[in-house]
Structure formats: structure tokens, C-alpha cells
Amino acid sequence: MIKLLGAVLLVGVTTWVGVNASFRLRQRERAARAFASALEQLAAELSFEMARIPDVLLKLSKTAPEITRPFFHMCVNATKQIGELPFSVIWRESLLKSHTGLGDEERLEVIQAGVILGRYGIEAQLGAVMNCIQRLRALADEASVMNRDKGKVYTALGICSGIMAVIVLL
């Protein structure tokens, strides 16, 4: 009975590892698309409304795709520190502290956009944001392909490795 329970547990754990790896791929794609969409909203606010960054961040913390809201919320709280810290640092720290599900490459792209944001003229800011959106979309497509190719493999590998381990141990 204990052996059976151990086997089930082992298979369960390895399956969870496989499924989790597959889930992360999906999450990465979802987060990249959500950030691209939020940044599109930000670009629209900047170009059409000529809105100020703290106001835009506040709006995005309420209306941007769900997964990005904690990041914008953190930015809003941290804007009180402008003057003590450059905005690019506030942006980067908020991104690193919030659980967004972005991969390392996507995170780097968003951080890069923050270096230009709020500091230069509208053309430079929009250029940086649009470039970031493009890169995020490309990375999301890559993640999607990877998920399609490897997502099921990760899950199957997880289950199989669990079964293998059970057979070997038994």
C-alpha cells in the first residue's frame, strides 16, 4: 500500500513539474501579449491625450489587462519617489518586484522602454514604446510556437519520467 502511495506521489510530482513548465510557457506568452496591449494603451494616452505619466499609470493600474495591473499599481505608488530616484529606476524596480509572468527577454524589453519614458519628447517616447510593443509581440509569438512544440512534450516528459522512476525504484 505504501509502495503504491509512493508511486502515485512520485508520478504526481513529476507530472506537476512537466505541467508547470508547459504552464510557464503559456503564461509567458499571455504576459507578453498583455504588456504589449497595456503599452499600446499607454502610447494612445501619450499621443492623443498628452497625458502626464502619473495619470497614465493610474489609469492603467485600473484598466490595463489584469496580469499587468500589479506592475502599474506598484509604479503609481512609487511615483512619489520621483526626484529621489529617476523614473527609469522606479519603472525597473516595479517590474522586477511584481509577478508578471514575463520571461527574461520580455522583461528586458519593458525595462528598456522605461529608460526613455517620461524623460524625452513625445516622438522619442512613442518610438521606444512602439518598439517595445513590437518586440513583445515577436517574443510572444516565439513563446507561442515554443508552447505548441514543447508544451505537450514537457507534460508527457513529466509523466513518463515519473513512471520510469517508479519502475526503476520498484
Binding site: 511615483t79 520621483i82 519614458l117 517620461g118 524623460r119 524625452y120 519628447g121 513625445i122 516622438e123
Partner: protein, 285 residues
């Protein structure tokens, strides 16, 4: 050393009396004090310094500042004024934006509460304000004096409360930020910001039924027309004008017309002597 550190290392008296911070790319930063200017640092200002100042002053909204710069300057939190110079981006003959910012002038807003109090008795009759023109050269302190006089009259320091309507076209007097005056203009003062003075005076007369209309800087014939209209409505007038003194006013056609129209019965002339401001009241009748 950063600009902030350099500014904080200024002697306490200089920090209290500083009027402006001037940053010019490639030149050392300067602080403007009453009657003199001193270098803040012995190194040249970089483009990055300028963008950092704009970023901090506008709360990371440089694009907003650069697109609003066609009005000459922008008012930031605390009522301070940020003036910018650079390469203008034109569209259909209008300045749309500014790029490659080369100079920043940060004018430090100061209330100087009470500077108008010693003259209040001469500028009122039984507590009621007389029509007063405040005269000084640029940077002479006209706006600061006007703000304090408005505050005193509005708060009833003359013995009678006066409902003041303030046409603050350039946002220098009340320095409204998100609708809230950043500088004290009194509890019975209604402020109309951003509207050309001639239109603003008419709007204020119709909507706010003021006892006194205050205007900062009469510069155009339209402003004079609006003042006339206000005077015809029985409203008291308070305004400022760029000039050394009343004789200097008479040399300029617009101001000559203003004096000849006898809209104002008193003039306050502000002069800076050895870094200190002196105020003189004259009868214009």
C-alpha cells in the same frame, strides 16, 4: 557633484532668497539671487542634467512640458515656473513642440506674505480697494506684490472683505495645479487660468460678479478694452504693467492711453535698490 547637492550646499541665506536656477547646456549652472547671479558648480551643464531636471520637475512627463512650452513656460507643483529653450518644432506656423532642450530657467515661486500690508491703508478707502496699477521692470516683483494684495483684500485685511476675480492667463499669480491654487490668493478669490485676459475679464464679470478684478500684466490693446469694460461695470481694478515708473509708462503708447483713460487712481512703483525692493505709492488722479 550633482546639481541637487550643489544647490543644497548654498549658504542658507542664498537658498532663502534664490529667485531662479538657470541651466544652459555647456555652461556652469547659475542661481539668480536679488541683484546678482552666482555659479552653482564649476562644471558645465550636460544634456542629461537638463533632462533630469525636466523629468523631476514634470514628474516624469517631459513630453507634456515640451508640448506646452509654446506658452513660454509651464507651471509645476508648488507654483514654480519652468521655462525652456531649445529647437522649436513648427507646424502650420505654430510652435508645436520643443526638442534638443538647451536652457532651463526654473523660477522659484515665492509668496512673500505681507509685503503689501504696509501699503494697504494707502491703497484702500474705508476698507474698499482703489483702482491700482502696479509698475515694475521684468523680475521686479509685480506678480508677487499683486498676489499678496489680492490675498489681503480677499481675506478682509483692509477691514472689508472683497470678492476678487483673478484673470491669471499665464498661471503665475495663483499657480493653479489641477484646479487648486498652489499659492495663497485669499479665501474669496475666484481664479480663471489660461484664458486671454480680455476674454477672461468679461467671463469673470458675467459669472462671478466680483468686487475687484485683478489682472497680471496689461500688454495688449484688448486688455485695456477689457479693463474699461470692467470699470464701466463699477468693478474695482488691480493690474500690473512692465515699466520703470510712471514716466516710463507715458513713453509707451499703450500705457500712455491707459493712464490717460484714468482707469487707475493709484500706482505702486517697485524699485530694486541694493538687492532690496522698495515700494512707492503715487496718486494718478
Amino acid at each position: 557633484m550633482s546639481l541637487r547637492q550643489a544647490a543644497l550646499r548654498l549658504p542658507a541665506e542664498d537658498r532663502l532668497t534664490a529667485e531662479e536656477l538657470r541651466l544652459r547646456a555647456g555652461r556652469p549652472p547659475c542661481v539668480v539671487l536679488p541683484g546678482r547671479e552666482r555659479e552653482l558648480l564649476d562644471r558645465a551643464v550636460t544634456g542629461s542634467d537638463i533632462m533630469s531636471v525636466i523629468e523631476i520637475a514634470t514628474k516624469a512627463s517631459a513630453h507634456w512640458a515640451l508640448s506646452n512650452v509654446c506658452s513660454g513656460f509651464i507651471t509645476i507643483e508648488g507654483g514654480h515656473r519652468l521655462g525652456l529653450c531649445g529647437t522649436a518644432v513648427m507646424k502650420e506656423g505654430d510652435v508645436m513642440n520643443l526638442r534638443d532642450v538647451s536652457s532651463v530657467c526654473l523660477r522659484i515661486a515665492k509668496e512673500n506674505r505681507g509685503i503689501a500690508a504696509p501699503l494697504l491703508g494707502q491703497l484702500t478707502k474705508s476698507g474698499v480697494p482703489t483702482d491700482t496699477l502696479i509698475i515694475a521692470p521684468p523680475g521686479g516683483g509685480k506678480t508677487t506684490f499683486l498676489r499678496d494684495l489680492v490675498r489681503l483684500l480677499s481675506d478682509g485685511a483692509s477691514g472689508t472683505y472683497t470678492r476678487v476675480a483673478l484673470a491669471d492667463e499665464r498661471g503665475e499669480v495663483a499657480a493653479c495645479c489641477a484646479g487648486v491654487p498652489q499659492l495663497d490668493v485669499g479665501s474669496r478669490t475666484d481664479v480663471l487660468t489660461g484664458c486671454p485676459k480680455d476674454k477672461a475679464v468679461m467671463m469673470l464679470l458675467r459669472s462671478m460678479s466680483p468686487g475687484l478684478v485683478a489682472v497680471d500684466e496689461i500688454t495688449a490693446p484688448e486688455d485695456l478694452g477689457a479693463m474699461r469694460a470692467a470699470a464701466n461695470c463699477g468693478v474695482r481694478l488691480l493690474a500690473t504693467a512692465h515699466a520703470e515708473d510712471t514716466r516710463d509708462l507715458l513713453r509707451r503708447p499703450l500705457y500712455k492711453e491707459l493712464l490717460e483713460s484714468r482707469l487707475f487712481s493709484k500706482a505702486v512703483t517697485i524699485t530694486v535698490v541694493h538687492g532690496k525692493r522698495e515700494y512707492r505709492v503715487e496718486d494718478l488722479d
